[in-house]
């Protein structure tokens, strides 16, 4: 005599996959089309736009993974919740070859695909992605020989900027022309600082004795904030300045005015050099 057949066991796995697929189909387009345009660091420069695209891609990839975890967690909590006062051991959990293989293949594929895509972006499309490439950049953007050099000098606790194409004047103000490839030459006179122009998508360490080069092309006029991103002493938090992206004409006028203002100082500044040794040292013991 056979046992009486009960109602068929619900297919929990299928339910979870269906819920997850529906939510992902809704969420991923929302992330790409609605959230994506607002992700940092914006589109103030070509490099920033590339970084925003990268953030959008990674957020879109992340969304179904997070949803899978949340759906699974919620489904389990709702479906398998222990009711009543009795506490019993659940059924033993055993390995499932198919699930494990799928998980390994999927995560490996995602990580490798991101690595390939990230490397391609870094090398081919964003010429360094706004990061410092050291004194001999390998990812040179098109037209790099015509790039406007701007030297960024970090010192405890202030930034100064030299413009070698304009008589090598030095100023506390940072300005650059719109739609012009700029090569930031970042260095330091004392300890390590980090030049971080967030909206421009530029971040480069300022290291004494090193000419750290980062490329950027600003796409809009406006202002941006410069901060130090490397803890450098008492007034580290005060190492911020507002920089400006100007139209070509406004930039030329600004540069001429700065050069004239600095004219009395130029002979003391000495010739433009890619790095400066932290002298004098004789009081440093």
């Amino acid at each position: 005599m056979s046992a009486a057949a009960g109602p068929p066991a619900p297919r929990h796995g299928l339910r979870i996959v269906l819920i997850w697929a529906v939510l992902s189909a809704i969420a991923v387009p929302l992330v790409v089309l609605v959230l994506g345009p607002h992700l940092p660091p914006g589109s103030f420069s070509s490099e920033a736009a590339d970084q925003k695209t990268a953030n959008t891609v990674m957020t879109a990839l992340l969304t179904p993974i997070v949803l899978l975890i949340l759906v699974f967690f919620g489904y389990v909590v709702a479906t398998f919740r222990q009711r009543g006062s009795a506490i019993e051991d659940g059924p033993p959990i055993r390995g499932h070859g198919g699930v494990q293989t799928t998980w390994l293949l999927a995560t490996t594929g995602i990580v490798l695909a991101l690595a390939v895509w990230g490397s391609y972006t870094l090398v081919q499309t964003a010429h360094g992605a706004g990061g410092g490439q050291g004194p001999s950049p390998t990812d040179l953007p098109k037209g790099h020989r015509q790039a406007l050099p701007i030297q960024v000098i970090g010192q405890q606790w202030e930034w100064t900027f030299r413009y070698p194409s304009y008589g090598a004047f030095e100023t506390r103000q940072l300005a650059l022309p719109v739609d012009q490839l700029v090569a930031f030459h970042v260095t330091s006179l004392d300890v390590t600082h980090s030049f971080w122009a967030y909206r421009l998508g530029v971040k480069a360490d300022a290291v004494p004795g090193v000419d750290n080069i980062a490329f950027v092309t600003a796409k809009h006029t406006g202002s941006f904030t410069v901060r130090c991103a490397e803890l450098c002493g008492l007034w580290h938090g005060h190492m911020y300045r507002t920089g400006y992206v100007l139209s070509r004409g406004a930039f030329d006028a600004w540069a001429a005015q700065q050069r004239a203002a600095d004219s009395a100082n130029l002979h003391d500044l000495g010739p433009y050099r890619r790095t400066y040794y932290p002298e004098p040292l004789h009081r440093a013991g």
Partner: protein, 219 residues
């Protein structure tokens, strides 16, 4: 020991530990030198008098370089917290008793952000100082103020080694004026690597409020 008693002991222990940590942190953050106010000399006019010394000459750091500030009664205070009125012209006199170290960045050799972009050194107007002759700077970066301070010659007689120094000792006198705007709190500092014995000349007194760094409270 009963469970309730154990729990009470643990809670009291945790509370005592948290209180000690909070006391340490708050004490650390609250230790700032007292303030010296600029002397008000007229409507929207104030006078600030400072001196720099090569070595403080007293505990806890006898050999540290330092600024001092003078109050309206003529008493010198070992502090770098200064108060000046808002929307006023502040006339500054700095008695500089230290020898020259030289500027690491010659850019700071040009006075900026002061009235007329001109300072006087021992009574003579000056728009630029040889970077090698600078002993210190008085700089308020957020107000755009930078003034290099000329050092006394290395071979000057009667050099001061214990603060406060007197006008009878070797010194240079630097004067300038700057205008304040709205109320606020601004840091000021020296840009010369003048901290003898510290890495790159920028440790110790260069990283400590009350010595070569301070705040300017515009009130």
């Amino acid at each position: 020991m009963k469970t309730g008693t154990r729990l009470l002991v643990v809670l009291l222990g945790v509370a005592a530990g948290a209180a000690l940590i909070a006391y340490y942190i708050v004490s650390y953050l609250m230790v700032t030198p007292h303030a010296v106010a600029a002397t008000v000399t007229g409507p929207r006019q104030a006078r600030l008098t400072l001196q720099t010394v090569a070595s403080f000459g007293h505990k806890p750091h006898q050999d540290w370089v330092s600024y001092l500030a003078r109050d309206s009664h003529g008493t010198w205070h070992h502090t770098t917290v200064l108060k000046v009125p808002a929307h006023a012209t502040v006339h500054v006199t700095i008695y500089q008793y230290d020898t020259a170290t030289g500027l690491r960045n010659p850019f700071w050799g040009r006075p900026e952000g002061i009235i007329g972009d001109t300072m006087t050194v021992d009574g003579k107007p000056l728009r630029e100082l040889d970077p090698d002759l600078a002993s210190h700077t008085f700089a308020i970066p957020d107000l755009g103020v930078t003034v290099p301070l000329k050092g006394v010659p290395d071979n000057a007689k009667n050099q001061c080694s214990v603060a406060p120094c007197t006008l009878a000792q070797a010194h240079t006198t630097v004067t300038f004026a700057f205008r304040t705007g709205k109320r606020g709190k601004f840091r000021w500092q020296c840009f010369v690597p003048c901290a003898a014995g510290f890495i790159l000349g920028f440790g110790g007194p260069m990283q400590t409020l009350g010595w070569m760094d301070g705040t300017l409270e515009v009130v």
